[in-house]
Subunit: 661 residues, 2 copies
Amino acid sequence: MQDSCRVLFLPDNRYVMVPKGENLLKAAMDADVHVNASCGGSGSCGKCRVLVEEGEVEREPNPKLSEEEISQGYALACQTSVLSDLRVSIPIESRIGDRRIFERKEPEPAHGHLLSAADWEKRLPHWELNPSTRKIHLVLAEPTLDDNVSDAERVKRGLAVETGLRDVIIDYPVLQRLPNMLRQSDWDITVTVLDSGEELRAVRIEQGDTSGRQSAIAIDVGTTTISAELIDLQTGEVTARASDYNAQVAFGEDVITRIIYATRGTGLAKLQSVVVGTIWNLIKSLVEQAGIEYCDITHLVVSGNTTMTHLLLGLNPRYIREEPYIPSATFFPWIKCSDLGLRIAAGVYLYAVPCVASYVGGDIVAGMLASGIFNADKLTLYIDIGTNGEMVLGNREWMLSCSCSAGPAFEGGGVKHGMRATRGAIEQVRINKVNYEPMIITVGHRRPIGICGSGLIDALSEMFLTGIVNEKGKINTELPTDRVRATEGGAEYVLVRAEDSATRRDIVITEVDIDNLMRAKAAVYAGIEILLSSVDMDVSMIDELLIAGAFGRYLEVDKAVTIGLLPDIGYEKMKFVGNGSLLGAHLAALSKDMLNKAKDIAHQMTYLELSMNPAFMEHYLSALFFPHTNLEAFPSVRERLESYRNEQRLAGEAAVGGEVG
Amino acid sequence: MQDSCRVLFLPDNRYVMVPKGENLLKAAMDADVHVNASCGGSGSCGKCRVLVEEGEVEREPNPKLSEEEISQGYALACQTSVLSDLRVSIPIESRIGDRRIFERKEPEPAHGHLLSAADWEKRLPHWELNPSTRKIHLVLAEPTLDDNVSDAERVKRGLAVETGLRDVIIDYPVLQRLPNMLRQSDWDITVTVLDSGEELRAVRIEQGDTSGRQSAIAIDVGTTTISAELIDLQTGEVTARASDYNAQVAFGEDVITRIIYATRGTGLAKLQSVVVGTIWNLIKSLVEQAGIEYCDITHLVVSGNTTMTHLLLGLNPRYIREEPYIPSATFFPWIKCSDLGLRIAAGVYLYAVPCVASYVGGDIVAGMLASGIFNADKLTLYIDIGTNGEMVLGNREWMLSCSCSAGPAFEGGGVKHGMRATRGAIEQVRINKVNYEPMIITVGHRRPIGICGSGLIDALSEMFLTGIVNEKGKINTELPTDRVRATEGGAEYVLVRAEDSATRRDIVITEVDIDNLMRAKAAVYAGIEILLSSVDMDVSMIDELLIAGAFGRYLEVDKAVTIGLLPDIGYEKMKFVGNGSLLGAHLAALSKDMLNKAKDIAHQMTYLELSMNPAFMEHYLSALFFPHTNLEAFPSVRERLESYRNEQRLAGEAAVGGEVG
């Protein structure tokens, strides 16, 4: 049994290694092989017919394919899984004009690679499974007239004898339950002690020995998505995962609209209760998946951007938004979950990973922790692109951060058919360099509805390389395809025709969209340059580029480099962190040392406010080009452009020759 | 202007020094001069007529005294205040047969003396006005893009710069108000920081400079009475005082009945809310008296016995009552007043003085603190007599405590006409050694209703000295007075005849009453002996005897010694502490050092459980005598007994001689 399969595509004669079970359309895309695909992978158009000449596949039953065709080896690429090494040929009719998709599932990034568990071990300093809460089983001597210290002192004495922990403060709710609990349990109890860094606090008492049942929850509170993990604190293993949209989305897509909502009337309380509701549902799901009890949970660690952290903790976010952009707090004391309205079990406390500034939050600090930059010798650039592009440059000696307001373009905002990466969103795009026909993949095998961030970067990169768009972002309406057209609102490129879309309307990318995207990418790139220039460095000195965030996960770095969003430093230096925020929260949940390290990181990190940096505008204007006014800084892009132009010229000549011939 | 006046009584030719303004009947009693007084000091019987021969007095107008009599110098002793040195003669008609009273107001103990402010200075080690909370005025720099730390970090930075305080944790409610407060106040704020001993916590934020307005409240939570003081933390001065009955009295007079009530259904919550209600009313009164705002209060320190502390804090008191008598806790973390249901102002925390054991509570620890025993070279016995007699023996090296269940006799319980020291309670008694006629003073100038603790000790002592009661507690029914009589229920002495009482029934002391009182005093004395013998000492080695508690305040120590309640060690060694519990709470409210000293005291103090001490019963049985089976240990009592017997013999001979003559 093999885990990865070699798929050879004919007539292109290109092959690609894919994991067993991979969707065949995706394999074609990864191999840079064009297959028509226009129904979003729903299997309804039947245009992605391929011929499996050798090897084993599994076909979803589909009326577009007859028994006879199947016996001949035909398959619909979007409805077919790879089971062995394959030899696949693309019939002429499938080569132009259609598109497909899959379920969006943990994709392997196309270039660069996702950091693995083994990578973490190398990156992080030695740390131990030593969480902030600890369950301690005590069998206490029953009191007598000779030994008649109070129940609380007896428990403290037991803790001191058993573990050496001294001066433990017993929370009042625990004190209140103590006398009956001790006697009902026959003096056999388990005490949960929280080490807050400032003090030791007995936060829960249970009958008998429950010390083997202890879990923590790590949560990444994103503006759009909240992801949570249940971690068994005995083993350090993740025993369940869950994620869901942040229900605050109903009150505004981005942090700014949420801040505005929060500052009106009871808006803050509303937003807090809504996010607490989402977290509660996730915890419910984790507990059910893992088959544990709520009372097995002993603490929570959350990380989120500064605004999300404020809204969760009920802190006023108003001045995050107003110059000079001041958060209420950047360090947060441990807080009782019940004080947030989150009643999972008695005595569970929550820790929020500290923030650095209004626009460099706990998610970035957690990412710094998880990526081990604080421990690295290499000069590393950490970048998390969303509405804001947050980035940190540094190593074990220093860390410099900034945030550039990229605007919502990368999240589909300000883009005519932009949308979030939900079902039906176009997330991958290829455009044939000769006939300008697109090939698309949508999230969830659905007919296309719109375009999400990674789809936009893909599309833009392809449009630029194929010459649909020039370096200034203008569409070439002279091209010999009806997919490019001039309208009253400006030129546009038709990515999906009305008959193939779920909306029954054309899905297009307009010059206005391109303009917005160019400004967004320019802001990010200018941020990178400012960070570097403020320490007298340039992009060539970056040893490693870490890309974080859910967006990063689906990003194809070569496309991002092509449009000049990321610097052209060689793909081998680029790594995907995945959800760095969740990973950092996870580490802080497992280890007091790591939690303290997060505090250190937040303290150490310098924040550069771009809005007052005089050089920012200069860098920004230079970046308002594809890929950049200074093409010298993007050698691989230049090379690829040349290769595209060559191929197009050759194809043109062939076509002319054909005509002539 | 003189502060104390010399009052000479004729024909007895006795004088007494009294403070200017003293009631003349009280002066007579202090001088051991008999004046008839039977209406409880209400001025209605007119029997306490005296002739002021020299000096100045102030008479309350009274119809029982004509203008002519006044011009001749007559006065009703109970209605007259001493304004200068006096020479007063008692007319023959006032010498036998009546009684009087006053308002019960801070009496100067008759023997021994109340510790004064100057005494405290000598007794306590040097300490500074350095309370657990501190208001710190900060004028912060407004944030700019260059200086954009969070509001919380700005405040912390301000605290560090202004005061050197670091790592201050900001309470969430403060964090939540911080952003608007800072901006509304134009960055000019006052932060209240609580030093809990474990951590520094910013508990309140206010606009502008309020650092000059800071008060603490010290509260003695007694089983019967709750006393509170408002203390200006700028000056250390007490600016208001208030006290009231603990409203829990409605649910049981003593700790045992309250514990029983607390362990049923929602009893604990009920008792907690009731005592919180009393405290709230006292605070209201303090705030009104002193003309401050509620938000000027920054912390509370309470001291109470272990049960009262449990009930206030909502801790389960059940096992205090059941062998082996285990409290939930003896050390209590600072708690937010609002968590107790006491909503005086945001961010006010309460500290409960720690306890030692179930029956040696924070009131005793506070008393130890206030009396300075922890700092004394002298061997000191500290004693607080109520339902339980709590006592501590020690000095700066060691402290040994015990509690003996004296029963409610000293509080009027188990005594036929016993009552608490409320209006109409007989609190002082003299009995004429010749004709066995009593002279009484009641609380509040009222017709007598019953007898309170100090009245019982007085009466018992007088009955014993005059021979109405013998050393075994039996009443001599052979005496030539109808005040002594045998009834079906046993012999009794009529202290007040029906026509003089408020109840229109005789107020009597029965042999059963005497038996109960004897057992109570024997338990206390046995406790003292056990403490001493367990360190191989005896009463002669006591350098100082400190008497605490409201009861102690009204106790006449010579009477207590006469019945064998207190050891006969010389009155000069006896001092009244007054309300030691309140004094200790007061000190702990003023000074962190003193508060920590209270913790040290509670830690250091050894508790001796009498119920398991084999020697206790032996000591107890020996003490079931007036004053004790070992009369040698009570030399002053023996002397006084001899003197009484002599005088009685002489009076008898005179009477016989008179008859003969």
